[in-house]
Symmetry: C2
Subunit: 345 residues, 2 copies
Amino acid sequence: MANPVQEFNDVFPVLADELIAHLRSIHIPENAIEWFDRSMRHNVLGGKMNRGLTVAETLRILKRGEELSKEEIFKANLLGWCIEWLQAFFLVSDDIMDNSKTRRGQPCWYRVGGVGMVAINDAFILESAIYFFLKKHFKKDAYYVELIELFHETTYQTELGQLLDLITAPEDDIDLTRFSIEKHAFIVRYKTAYYSFYLPVALAMHMAGVKDEAAFKQAEDILLPLGEYFQVQDDYLDCYGKPEVIGKIGTDIEDNKCSWLINQALDKATPEQVKVLHENYGRRDEANVIAVKEIYNEIGVEGLFKAYEEESYTRLNALIAKLDHPLLSQDVFTSFMKRIYKRTK
Amino acid sequence: MANPVQEFNDVFPVLADELIAHLRSIHIPENAIEWFDRSMRHNVLGGKMNRGLTVAETLRILKRGEELSKEEIFKANLLGWCIEWLQAFFLVSDDIMDNSKTRRGQPCWYRVGGVGMVAINDAFILESAIYFFLKKHFKKDAYYVELIELFHETTYQTELGQLLDLITAPEDDIDLTRFSIEKHAFIVRYKTAYYSFYLPVALAMHMAGVKDEAAFKQAEDILLPLGEYFQVQDDYLDCYGKPEVIGKIGTDIEDNKCSWLINQALDKATPEQVKVLHENYGRRDEANVIAVKEIYNEIGVEGLFKAYEEESYTRLNALIAKLDHPLLSQDVFTSFMKRIYKRTK
Ligand SMILES: [Mg+2]
Ligand SMILES: [Mg+2]
Ligand SMILES: [Mg+2]
Ligand SMILES: [Mg+2]
Ligand SMILES: [Mg+2]
Ligand SMILES: [Mg+2]
């Protein structure tokens, strides 16, 4: 049996060629094709591809060991790549909105020489590719409309999470009174959990022939809290993870991020501690960061996280154990859980 | 009979309420709803609404006098509003990419206080609204998938036209050797004609029950050149129109636009004239603009336009006269033609 990562990677050049062949067929000038190709490779490739790989992996579990046909493997991986294209659309624009410098060890696309704000239109084009692929490969499938609607809805959800994130925690206008545990939960679910956790599984479910809305609802009811737990870990590791393990030095405090940690701290802090947080959060100076971390220590935010992690583990496992839809398999969710419980990177 | 403009305008508040009600139902915090609402009103409203109005107008012609039901009027106008939402998505981002200052007599959205680059995500949200409306109101219609695909494809076409425009004529890197009559034609068709001319008619055709692809092809074969003619007029009026009539002072020469005029001039110019154009096009100084206009006069670009206008009129009318598809009416196209032939604004 071929390696799933290899199978996944083999699909990218096929998809890239399809897009380029279409551009040639409508006689778009060659300089635009070169630009298109460069944007696609810079922005779609180079990530961890976890989301993309999950579609075929989930389909295998849902088919309970039945061997997938070559076509099924190709189509599942194609849907996985559609998530990677969707993510590229989000990341190109997120980096502009966050004024970021690097992404995946390279300059952000809009910072590449000569690109600038053209990157906005490049992001749009990345999104359009999804529907080009879906039409080309799924138009005859009974679940074609469901795939389209799922991508639309997930895109909209992510945009709404991004909106709330952007207006709650703008880098240049620090105001912690806008933060709250409820807003944090909304942002995390909408901005991350839908497209990273629910989308790949729901795509695989469509391919497996699942039609019952109750099955999708059961999957969502586990995957959204799972995604929330994952993002809370991300927030925790940004402050308490080992830089040499997580591969970067966290800057959520400097960046005025509406992180789980600051929301927990604000919730538990005395008026004096709140004052210190207000005076120091979202500022670039090392002294400010140290002052915030001192309050985190006083409040015991690390301990709150450990308790949250245990509570999440128990709660999510209970949700998984209760899962009884005949078309779903608990293994889909336990495999996620195993990968993320107590992760250090 | 109610006034078509009034009927069209009456639909906007219904659609705005549907979006807001949905946001309330998912418990997005109130500050995000306010932002969403402000962005929508600023960006969707305030235009001439020609594209939006064309859907119901075309449907009336296609139904050959048969009175439209209240539901048909509502749905045709809803599709018209979807074009206006699509255009809002394009314009918000185009203004950022062009570093523009005003739009429809107001500051561009990204220049409104506190907005900035959040406008990119606001543009995405404007696009997502289209598919929210289509699902809500057309899911049960036989042509639902066709509507979705048409919006996807038109969006992609517009983005490809925008890409070519952006890399052919960047404001900060003037190089007229990138220009050509062929590129101009591609940009105009893709960036403007598909969404402004073909889309509203094709939407009405779907509502009228047209299924035959040949009918859509015939419509496209007239509407794309018609849109091209319209844009060439736009380029002409930018330089030779009366500012008090067109409502603005043209700046295509200063803005390094890949306009029909400069492409005609470059095509006909002597090497000496080409040199003057290269030295003066895309620059902000009045002396530079005057130098370019002098070359235009020497070459007789105005006369070339008049000849193009007559030739287009004859050619397009011949295309319309040949139109023989039983489901199409020549009136759809002659009504466009009447509105734009020899227009001065
Ligand atoms: Mg970011
Ligand atoms: Mg961000
Ligand atoms: Mg993080
Ligand atoms: Mg512009
Ligand atoms: Mg532009
Ligand atoms: Mg113009």
